[in-house]
Symmetry: C2
Subunit: 282 residues, 2 copies
Amino acid sequence: MERKKIAIVGVGLIGGSLALQLNEKGLAAGIIGVDNNPFHAEKARELGLVDEMMDLDAAIDNCEVIILAIPVDKMVELLPGVLDRVDQQIVFDAGSTKSQLIKAIKGHPKRGRFVATHPMWGTEYSGPQAAVKQAFENKAVVICDTQDSDKDAVDWVKHAYSKIGMHLLEMDAIAHDLHAAYVSHISHITSFALANTVLEKEKEDDAIFELASGGFESTVRLAKSNPAMWVPIFRQNRENVLDVLNEHISQLRKFKSCLEKENYEYLGELIENANKIKRILK
Amino acid sequence: MERKKIAIVGVGLIGGSLALQLNEKGLAAGIIGVDNNPFHAEKARELGLVDEMMDLDAAIDNCEVIILAIPVDKMVELLPGVLDRVDQQIVFDAGSTKSQLIKAIKGHPKRGRFVATHPMWGTEYSGPQAAVKQAFENKAVVICDTQDSDKDAVDWVKHAYSKIGMHLLEMDAIAHDLHAAYVSHISHITSFALANTVLEKEKEDDAIFELASGGFESTVRLAKSNPAMWVPIFRQNRENVLDVLNEHISQLRKFKSCLEKENYEYLGELIENANKIKRILK
């Protein structure tokens, strides 16, 4: 397929990393950035992530593909107005939740121009300076409710993600949000809570600065993640996240109960069961 | 200092990785392995981690330094007998808990020959085939209760760990076990519990195999860790681990309560507070 003129709304970690990949893989005939944060706009230009910055309306009018890579609350606010303005452009998002976004444009006359996607990649950093090359490669991208999108739009989006090196997965928005709660959202909550646990207990002691080991770093690194991104995700996926969080607390209570009752045999069984995760994490 | 003849008891992940480093950094005049698992013994020889395998008594009689790298319950059983047999050899351990081990040899006539250490490095894998080169470099090693060890023994152990590239930290066994609960042991419990949460909920669905992203992998990888190693650690450090676990559950309940009450402002504050972990994790 030929290169397309692409507008990226939100030139942060995800938008910036997508820009690098779209250029690298020969998918873009030019990239227009849109960002209401003037520091991010300036930085994105400086880093060469985008060719030029425009305001949203001008960007829509001057491109063939629009990518939304902004926090999921802003996405729900912005998408209906974007669709009001598009003609034959393809619009897709890269957000971590899907149900509310799709609901927000239900029955929109331009619904077909939109493709709902979630490329399952990210880091704990944010902003254009966090953008990295070769991001997304060998990760999964979920594409939701494709039956409601125009075929040409779905085809191009699949083509682009494949070129970037992602595995395509299709499911409906409801299923996506449920799975995302398990494989992504709960990890962030445990990490935030673990950070708070340690910060609370180690307030008066600097030893932790020296001791923090690889295992700690691994479980806690997500705790650096940006609240402006994560509060809206937890909010939109509230019921699923609460379900998983309740299950997680009850699993932690089993460990607690084993220790309290000194039931080390059952503790061993809990750990053996957890080891089955090896099937999932190669 | 001159090279020493070293016996390593337990040629698994830690013992094997230490063997590689001791050879690499010119600290060993030869390495004797001791392991009651015949498959590990065979593998350690095959991989060239050790020059020869011996039984424990022969190894003690034929070396100048004895390193114990076995699960912490076995350590407590074995160490008094090792000290009964040593003459001027230096003995040190690499275990994750310290108080009970030190208690087990309190007042032993050869107490001075023993140095209690915890090199803060590991992976979720185990066995000699898990041994890796350049392990331990740029990590911290805690050396406990040095006032009870002979000066020549402490000096050599510090020299060896420095050569390997570790940062030396001294503290008493009680403080070590408290900090270890925060920066290492709790991370393993949350990882085990998170794995069980996901395995429980995703029982009938294979989507997770495809979706598991980097963030999930990072928070859950420790769940692959070996129960034979971890049950004894949690058992020996039971009170500290319970303390931290209670605090962690109460931190998770704050997230739960925010979601239940839809208090997104406080949710944002909890995340902002967690972000302070950036000070600790560079």
